[in-house]
Symmetry: C2
Subunit: 257 residues, 2 copies
Amino acid sequence: MATVISFSSQKGGVGKTTSAIHLATAFALGGYKTLLVDLDPQGSVQSALGIREHPVQGARELFCDPNFEFDAVRVGSEHKNLDYILSNMSHLTEEQEVVRVASDYHFLRERVEEHLDARYDFVVIDVPPTTSPVSINAMIASDLVMVPLQCEALAIKSLKRFLLAFRDLQNNIDPNLRIAGVLLTMFNRNIRAHQQVCKQVYQALGESVFQTIIPECSYILEASAIGVDVIKRRLNSVGATGYIRLANEVLDRFELR
Amino acid sequence: MATVISFSSQKGGVGKTTSAIHLATAFALGGYKTLLVDLDPQGSVQSALGIREHPVQGARELFCDPNFEFDAVRVGSEHKNLDYILSNMSHLTEEQEVVRVASDYHFLRERVEEHLDARYDFVVIDVPPTTSPVSINAMIASDLVMVPLQCEALAIKSLKRFLLAFRDLQNNIDPNLRIAGVLLTMFNRNIRAHQQVCKQVYQALGESVFQTIIPECSYILEASAIGVDVIKRRLNSVGATGYIRLANEVLDRFELR
Ligand SMILES: Nc1ncnc2c1ncn2[C@@H]1O[C@H](COP(=O)(O)OP(=O)(O)OP(=O)(O)O)[C@@H](O)[C@H]1O
Ligand SMILES: Nc1ncnc2c1ncn2[C@@H]1O[C@H](COP(=O)(O)OP(=O)(O)OP(=O)(O)O)[C@@H](O)[C@H]1O
Ligand SMILES: [Mg+2]
Ligand SMILES: [Mg+2]
């Protein structure tokens, strides 16, 4: 029985892709069989990991192929416990094909249960920064919806807006939807506004904020520039240790060991 | 006859909202009657400008009200030459209502010609980080589509992907679509990767990159934290002078004076 985790937020550039890649990698290093799925038409997972060949099959077949064959879409990584399903929706017509199928908000959940549940301990999903049908599919398919929040001054406003949109999803689409927690990212302790944001978020949400805060880490930028994850690039960097700590916190908090 | 400008990109957090706000403000200070329209359900324009009251009418009426009354939707600013149409799509159902109307990709263009053309010199549009029907509407309604590109190492890959999606739009939706230019944002001359990105983008695209590069500027963050634009906050900052230079470059390059 796989635990499905997605990173969701309407705001762009907050660390969704970075978090999905590194949480998945940390689980794989910890011995859990993990699948990372990229549902963003931008295909940021492929760019950040420096995967050159364009995937022949991927997220599009996951949604649009009635005879979906898992082994044809699965892309292996250098970790034996980590596989990918990459995004192959770079053409507008492909993206629109997926959006049409995704109008059934429970579609992905059924696909995951049918094809992925028995093969993996964790399925981690990266989504685009929208409340599009694809993003809604990912939330409904998830056991844990994690909300990355960049520690900038406007973060509180964008969080309020996201929580409002999330309540709409609960009222209109699926009352069982739950947020697993808010993850503070790109925290720089020398910037006063960041400390204030952290304090305000903890005061407002308390328990539903992950203890682990991901610091701003230049090695994360460096690693993605050369197409590797930061754990491989610099194991003792604050970025690498941050995501390893997060993986441990998720395992403990939700009793998944 | 208004010149319509939109900032478009699939990647999140690259400076679309910041650029839309500051280009519009610079035009207004330069004596041009300007309207800033926020089509992003996140409503970042309102947050960044510290506008407290939630707009009663806004982007939703622009799309969904058959008896659209411009004066009921227009929000004034402290500049006599600058007005806003704010985003009032914070509920999922409101956003989906707009997306339904936006399936006619030429809808916004007609609305602009009918209601806004005669009143303004410039209409500047902020859009969400997607290729959704709303974003496509904004591109088709625009005379100039500007593509902000953050100077990070993956910028080239996300630019390639955007240009691919743009070509799809030209082939499938509107052959007259043109990109006015790429705008490099958040440039930090002390980061080697930023200099390399700049060099590569100029080599690849030459003329279609704006001469003006917007530097990384902490006053931009500070200004949005207190809900003002950076031109007001700190006129001699690199952020303020950057966007004023950009406004002048747009006026000269496209002979709009
Ligand atoms: N902790 C960090 N420290 C420094 N840079 C970071 C950190 N996390 C992410 N970044 C950088 O910030 C940028 C945005 O991150 P990322 O692409 O993961 O965000 P996103 O939310 O997935 O964006 P999008 O909305 O486009 O999907 C990237 O350049 C990434 O390398
Ligand atoms: N030149 C700059 N220097 C420093 N910070 C900047 C600069 N431009 C934008 N920012 C900051 O970067 C963050 C992202 O910018 P912005 O919200 O304008 O991007 P966006 O592309 O509109 O994001 P979204 O994809 O969510 O719509 C904001 O916190 C903003 O204040
Ligand atoms: Mg991403
Ligand atoms: Mg924005």
